[in-house]
Subunit: 237 residues, 2 copies
């Protein structure tokens, strides 16, 4: 990052699931409370982990063209239908399944996310760049108070990250060269794909994304490596 001047960065794009919001903690808390109110004693942590494990393979099937374009809401629902019996969720009505599936619209931010995004947004465009579909991300932003200037959802390009169409599509809509746009993410594969497209990169450590005991140090040499969005805002100035 010796050659990076922070003043060149006019827009910061954020991966969302895991980087800005705590999907695992939110799923367990939201569905746990819902289940308790209805007397459903499912294995919510097990469901959360298995559901997330199904995430990348389900998108890969679309990416490889084995399946026509399918928005994340629909991939999530297909995975949920398959996983429900294994985690104590047999016999739910369609309306209940919809409610459970829409938990991804109701995720809560990490403690530093909203303040950090607000601070970054004072001087730069701040946008989501997520595999979530636009409707999901709108609901989530309203629920969590995420102050996005724009939401780049997967259904804008009908491509999932790490396809280059997503990173370059965002830069094209922003009408900015990739070297003036930064991706901030907790996942190094996402950062590597963005870098290959010419974007700048910021690793945000989220060691608790998958529960206690995760790693906080990145393996790669990113333009920034920080432990919160507030720290990124301070570093970018």
């Amino acid at each position: 990052m010796a050659d990076l001047r922070a003043s060149q960065i006019g827009a910061v794009l954020f991966d969302v699931f895991g980087t800005v919001v705590d999907w695992r903690g939110s799923l367990i808390a939201d569905l746990g409370a819902w289940g308790a109110a209805r007397g459903i004693a499912a294995d919510w942590a097990g469901l959360a982990d298995a559901w997330r494990d199904a995430y990348a393979p389900s998108m890969d099937a679309v990416r490889r063209g084995e399946q026509p374009w399918t928005a994340l809401d629909d991939l999530h629902r297909a995975s949920l239908l398959r996983l429900a019996p294994r985690f104590g969720l047999s016999g739910l009505t369609d309306a209940d399944l919809d409610h459970v599936n829409r938990v991804w619209h109701r995720l809560s931010p990490w403690p530093d996310s909203v303040a950090g995004l607000r601070r970054l947004r004072e001087r730069r465009i701040v946008a989501a760049l997520s595999n979530g579909n636009v409707a999901l991300l709108i609901d989530m932003a309203r629920h969590a108070g995420l102050p996005w200037d724009f939401i780049f959802g997967g259904d804008l390009y009908r491509h999932y990250k790490p396809d280059p169409e997503t990173y370059l599509g965002a830069c094209a809509l922003l009408r900015r060269p990739p070297e003036t746009v930064m991706l901030a993410a907790a996942h190094e594969s996402d950062l590597a794909a963005a870098r290959a497209c010419g974007l700048r990169t910021a690793f945000i450590a989220r060691p608790e994304e998958h529960g206690p005991g995760g790693a906080a140090q990145p393996a790669g040499d990113w333009d920034f490596a920080v432990s919160s969005i507030e720290e990124l805002a301070a570093r970018l100035g």
Copy 2:
């Protein structure tokens, strides 16, 4: 609108130029101040009106396929280059022309717009549905404080209103049936095209859009006809 229940409307889309922001007053004020500081005595009101007159024909050329997809920023700039000599703006540098062209990114809202959008947004998704490109509309939202949940810009679909791809494209990304989505606009041709796609309609009177003396009464029978966004928010409840 006898058959319209306001509770069915989950999202309100807004035309932007003229409906939410005062393009004519903003152009005259912004460029007038800029010109005064540089000793440029151009006919700013004349430029504003001629520039806006060039707007629909420039998009029509794209719509008819006589010109490949061109974002509004670029249509605006081509029109500006053609009009500049007529209004006292010969000999501007490229940087100056860029600054003048980006006046469309710096438009100011009508007095009721921000409060009305905020109130509407408490209970419904509120989004821009504009022929402006995304980058233009992001800048404008930051400048004017417009609290969009999302921005549907023409470059998302590479279509300009009133092409149905714009109205239906917004509904598809929202994953909502058109009858649960309302277009709010000061222009009846826009409302008619939205209605033809199945959307609900709200006419917002902006009699001063083109200067003093405009009409406040719509010719059509829209679901709502109001004189401000705050009134629309109150009526929708």
